[in-house]
C-alpha cells in the first residue's frame, strides 16, 4: 500500500455486549464512517490487557481505541471499571514514553449507540491524522541503523587536530 497516502491505522478492542453490538447496529443502520479501524472482539473490556495495547502500537498502530459498556452497565458487573483504572495509568505512562495521550482512547458505548461508534471513529481518525504517523516499526528501522552504520560514519570521519585537549565536537554533534 506504499503508493497510497498515509492514513492512520487503528486497532480497536470492543466488548462483546455493548460496543461490539453498537458497531453492529451502526452497520445495520448503514451509518458511514472511516475504514481505518480494525476491531478485535473481547467478551468484556476487563479482558483487555495493557500488553495488547502496547503490542498493537508496537506493531504499527497509530492509535488504539477501547470500547466498553457505560459505568453501571457492564454485562459482567464491573469489568469496565477495571479497564478504566488500567487505562488511567497506562495513558500517563505512554505520555512518559513520548506518546500523545490522544493516541489511546477509552469510550463507553452502549449497544444502542451506533451513532456514537460513528462519531468516535471519525473523531479519532481526525485526531490521529492531525498527530501524524506513530509508525513504531518504521522508527526502529531508523534507530537500528546506528548499530552498524554509525561505526562506519565514525571511521569515515576526518580526524581533527587536538589543540591542548579541547576537543572539537562538531563531528560528534553532526550526526547526533
Amino acid at each position: 500500500m506504499s503508493e497510497k497516502p498515509w492514513t492512520p491505522r487503528i486497532v480497536a478492542f470492543f466488548c462483546n455486549w455493548c460496543t461490539y453490538t453498537a458497531a453492529d447496529l451502526a452497520g445495520v443502520s448503514r451509518l458511514k464512517y472511516a475504514a481505518n479501524a480494525r476491531v478485535i472482539r473481547v467478551m468484556c473490556s476487563g479482558r483487555i490487557d495493557p500488553q495488547f495495547i502496547l503490542d498493537a502500537l508496537n506493531r504499527g498502530a497509530d492509535g488504539v481505541l477501547i470500547g466498553g459498556c457505560h459505568p453501571n452497565d457492564c454485562h459482567y458487573v464491573e469489568g469496565n471499571y477495571k479497564m478504566l483504572r488500567r487505562f488511567q495509568l497506562l495513558q500517563r505512562m505512554l505520555g512518559d514514553m513520548g506518546l500523545e495521550k490522544e493516541r489511546v482512547r477509552l469510550e463507553w458505548i452502549s449497544a444502542a449507540e451506533g451513532e456514537k461508534v460513528k462519531t468516535v471513529m471519525n473523531e479519532m481518525v481526525q485526531t490521529l491524522t492531525r498527530l501524524g504517523p506513530l509508525g513504531i516499526p518504521k522508527r526502529w528501522d531508523e534507530w537500528d541503523k546506528e548499530m552498524t552504520e554509525m561505526e562506519h560514519q565514525a571511521g569515515a570521519q576526518e580526524p581533527v587536530a587536538c589543540n591542548c585537549g579541547i576537543a572539537k565536537i562538531k563531528a560528534e554533534v553532526a550526526h547526533v
Partner: protein, 678 residues
C-alpha cells in the same frame, strides 16, 4: 501450503468469504480477499461464495473439511452475533470440533459502514488475516450444559404479560406474574373499544384476566414489584416485594361492603384508573372487573394512617378513624392494618419482561394548552370519558359541564417531535380515528382530525380510515401550531381556536372548537432505566428495551433467558403485542422443553503449576469464582461460576490465567494479523 503448529499438529485452514448477495460484494472485492488469504501459511483452500449461511454454503464447508482434511475453518461474512452458531454447527457437522471455527465480521463492521471499495477490501483482508493467524491457536473445547428451571417469571400484567403467562401456564409450566398496580389489565383495561374492529376492550380482556386469576399454574402477585434478580439463564433467583394492601386476599370475598361503609361518605380522592376524571375513596377497587377482586386501602389518604407507617409498611394505627370498614367486613376479618411489606424469593429459569409504556405528558407541549384550557383532553382521558363504566357513565361531558359540538383531535402530540419524542408512536393515527368515531357516536359533534401523515399499516386499518372519511370526519393534513382561547372573529368567541396550515388546501386556517383531544404518544416507563439494570438489559436511545436483533431475535434480549413482550420494547398495537407475547412465551418454552442450555466454553482457568499464589486475582471476580486454597497456596477458578469475562486473565501479573476462546496467544496473533496487512 500448511504449517506445523506447536510441534505436533499440522494446521490446515479452510477460508471462506461470503458475498452475502450484494451486501458485502458491493463494497468488498471478495475474490481478491480470497486470493490474498490463499497465500497465507496454513491456508489449504480459500473460496468466495454467494451465500455462506445458505444450505449449500454450509455443505460446502462440510465437504471441504472431509475432502481437504481441514482442521480449522474461517468464514468472513456477517456479525458473529448473527451466524457464529450456524457455522460452528457446520464445522461440527463436518466432523471437527466446532471451536476450530472462527468468524470475521466484514458486513456490519465493514461493507455496510464504508464507502470506499478499496479501503473496505483492504480492511476485509486485514481482518481475515487476523482470523487466519488466530484460528491456528484454537483448541478443541466442550460446551457445558446448564439445567433449566422450568418456572417462568412474567413481569407486568398488561395484555402482553397476561397473554404470555396464559400461554406458558396452558403449556403446563409454572408462572409467576408480577404486577405493580392493584389489578392486572394494564392500559387495555382502560380502553373503551379497540381499533379497527371496534370490539369492546373489556369484553375481550376481562375473561383472560379472570382466567389468569384462577389458573392453577399461575401465581399472581399484584401491587408487587421485582426488587432483585440474581443468577443467569436457567437459574435465576428473584426477589419480589409485595406492598401491603391492608386486606388479606385469602379472607376477602370481594363483597366490597367496606367501600360504602367508609367514613368518607363521598369519594373525594383522584381516581388513577379514570385518569383523575373521577373520584374514589381511601378504600377502593380500581374498576369493576379488577383482578384480583380484592379491595385496596390507600395509606396516603386513609385516616388510620394519619400517624404514618412503620418502616415495614404497617400502619401506626391511629384512633382518628371509626374504622367503619372493619365493622362492615365483619367476621371475614379481611381488613388488616398491621399488614407489612412481604419479600418473596423465587427461582425461575426464564423471565419475560412486559412492563409496558407510559403515555406522553401533554403539558410538555404547552402550545396546545393542556392544563391551561380545561376543555383540552388527552386521548386516554377520552377513553374513560366515552366508557360506559367511566366517570360519566359514557356521556361526553366536558370539564365545564357542556357537551361539545365541535372537537379537534391533534395527532402526533409527543411523537415525531425532536423537542419531545422523535419516534412515531404507531398507534395514535388509529386510536385517534377510533376516538373520532366514538365521539361522533356519543355527541354527533363535528370532528376535525389534524395529522401529519396518516399511518394505517395493518389488517383492516386502511379500511377503517376510509370508514371515517365516509362518516364525515374532517381530516386536515397539518401539524397544529397552537391552541388558544383568544377570538379574532365573532364565531371564535368563547371557543378554543386551533391555528394550523391545511397543507393540502394550501391555506392557514383558524378553526374554533369546543373540545381539543391530544393524541399523546407512547414513551418508556419512567423507571425503564432501573428495570433495565435490574434485568441487565440494554435500552435503545429512546429508552425502550433493546431486542437482541431487530429482525431475527425480536423478543430476545442480550441476556439469555430474558425476553421482551409488548410496548416496553417499543410502541405497538394490541395485535402485535399479543403476537409478541406469544413469541416470547415460545422462546421460553424452547429452553424449558429442551431442559438445558449449552454455555459458551469461554471460561478462564489457572495454570496450577505456574500460579504463585499472589492473590491479585481474588478480589477481581464479580462472581467469586476464584478461591484461594490455603493448603496448596494457589488460586483456583470454579468453572461453574465463571462467566468468562476474562478480567482476571487480563490482570494476572505472571500470565498464569488463561481463557478459552480469548487466550493471550489468540489475541496477540489477532493483533499481529490486523497489523501484518498494510
Amino acid at each position: 501450503m500448511s504449517v506445523k503448529q506447536n510441534g505436533k499438529e499440522e494446521v490446515r485452514i479452510g477460508f471462506y468469504v461470503c458475498h452475502c448477495g450484494h451486501n458485502i460484494a458491493a463494497m468488498v472485492d471478495c475474490p481478491e480477499v480470497a486470493k490474498y488469504i490463499e497465500t497465507l501459511p496454513g491456508v489449504v483452500l480459500s473460496r468466495d461464495y454467494k451465500y455462506m449461511c445458505s444450505e449449500p454454503g454450509q455443505d460446502l464447508v462440510q465437504q471441504d473439511i472431509r475432502e481437504y482434511k481441514l482442521n480449522r475453518v474461517v468464514v468472513a461474512s456477517c456479525s458473529p452475533l448473527l451466524h457464529e452458531h450456524t457455522f460452528r454447527s457446520a464445522t461440527e457437522a463436518g466432523g471437527l470440533n466446532p471451536f476450530f471455527f472462527h468468524m470475521v465480521n466484514i458486513r456490519e463492521h465493514n461493507s455496510w459502514v464504508h464507502t470506499d471499495r478499496k479501503e473496505a477490501t483492504e480492511k476485509a483482508k486485514g481482518l481475515a488475516h487476523a482470523a487466519i493467524q488466530r484460528v491456528a491457536h484454537h483448541k478443541a473445547l466442550e460446551t457445558k450444559r446448564v439445567e433449566i428451571n422450568p418456572a417462568v417469571l412474567v413481569v407486568g400484567g398488561g395484555i402482553a404479560g397476561i397473554h404470555a403467562a396464559m400461554t406458558l401456564a396452558n403449556a403446563g409450566k409454572k408462572v409467576y406474574l408480577v404486577e405493580r398496580e392493584p389489578s392486572i389489565g394494564g392500559h387495555m383495561a382502560k380502553f373503551d373499544k379497540t381499533f379497527p374492529t371496534l370490539d369492546c376492550a373489556a369484553c375481550i380482556l376481562t375473561p383472560k384476566m379472570s382466567e389468569v386469576g384462577c389458573h392453577p399454574n399461575i401465581t399472581l402477585w399484584t401491587y408487587s414489584e421485582v426488587t432483585k434478580v440474581d443468577g443467569f439463564v436457567g437459574n435465576f433467583t428473584i426477589q419480589v416485594k409485595r406492598k401491603p394492601r391492608y386486606i388479606d386476599p385469602d379472607l376477602c370475598t370481594g363483597c366490597q361492603e367496606c367501600i360504602p361503609s367508609c367514613v368518607f361518605k363521598e369519594p373525594k380522592f383522584s381516581d388513577e384508573f379514570n385518569e383523575g376524571l373521577g373520584k374514589r375513596k381511601p378504600v377502593f377497587i380500581s374498576f369493576p372487573q379488577a383482578t384480583p377482586q380484592v379491595v385496596v386501602i390507600d395509606p396516603e389518604v386513609c385516616l388510620n394512617f394519619k400517624r404514618g407507617k412503620n418502616p415495614d409498611g404497617s400502619a401506626i394505627v391511629s384512633d382518628k378513624c371509626k374504622k367503619t370498614c372493619v365493622d362492615a367486613c365483619g367476621d371475614k376479618k379481611a381488613i388488616d392494618f398491621t399488614q407489612k411489606d412481604i419479600v418473596e424469593e423465587i427461582k425461575v429459569g426464564n423471565i419475560i419482561v412486559a412492563t409496558g409504556f407510559k403515555t406522553f405528558d401533554a403539558e410538555r407541549t404547552p402550545q396546545y394548552g393542556y392544563g391551561k384550557h380545561k376543555n383540552v383532553y388527552t386521548a386516554l382521558e377520552i377513553e374513560r370519558l366515552v366508557n360506559a363504566s367511566g366517570p360519566t357513565g359514557g356521556d361526553v361531558i366536558m370539564r365545564d359541564g357542556k357537551t361539545p359540538k365541535s372537537i379537534g383531535i391533534i395527532h402526533c402530540v409527543g411523537s415525531r417531535d425532536y423537542k419531545t419524542n422523535k419516534w412515531c408512536s404507531r398507534v395514535c393515527c388509529m386510536y385517534s380515528m377510533k376516538l373520532a368515531h366514538l365521539l361522533k357516536e356519543h355527541t354527533d359533534a363535528e370532528i376535525y382530525s389534524f395529522y401529519i401523515d396518516m399511518r394505517t399499516p395493518g389488517k383492516g386499518y386502511e379500511e377503517f380510515y376510509n370508514k371515517m372519511l365516509e362518516e364525515g370526519v374532517h381530516f386536515v393534513r397539518g401539524r397544529v401550531g397552537e391552541v388558544t382561547d383568544w377570538a379574532f372573529t365573532p364565531e371564535e368567541e368563547g371557543k378554543l381556536v386551533i391555528r394550523v396550515e391545511d397543507t393540502l388546501a394550501g391555506y392557514v386556517r383558524r378553526i374554533p372548537v369546543d373540545m381539543v383531544v391530544l393524541a399523546t404518544g407512547l414513551e418508556p416507563q419512567a423507571d425503564a432505566q432501573d428495570v433495565r439494570r435490574l434485568f441487565n438489559m440494554s435500552c435503545g436511545s429512546e429508552g425502550f428495551f433493546l431486542e437482541r436483533h431487530p429482525k431475527l431475535a425480536p423478543v430476545n434480549t442480550f441476556s439469555d433467558g430474558i425476553y421482551l413482550a409488548g410496548c416496553c420494547q417499543g410502541p405497538k398495537d394490541i395485535p402485535d403485542t399479543v403476537a409478541q407475547a406469544g413469541a416470547a412465551a415460545a422462546e421460553a418454552l424452547v429452553l424449558i422443553d429442551r431442559g438445558y442450555i449449552e454455555q459458551e466454553p469461554n471460561t478462564a482457568f489457572i495454570l496450577d503449576e505456574e500460579c504463585s499464589g499472589c492473590k491479585s486475582c481474588l478480589p477481581l471476580c464479580p462472581y467469586t469464582a476464584i478461591t484461594y486454597q490455603e493448603d496448596r497456596k494457589k488460586a483456583v477458578i470454579n468453572e461453574a461460576l465463571c462467566k468468562g469475562c476474562g478480567t482476571c486473565v487480563g490482570a494476572c501479573p505472571s500470565g498464569s490465567i488463561v481463557q478459552n476462546l480469548f487466550d493471550d496467544d489468540e489475541i496477540f496473533s489477532e493483533i499481529a494479523g490486523v497489523m501484518a496487512y498494510e
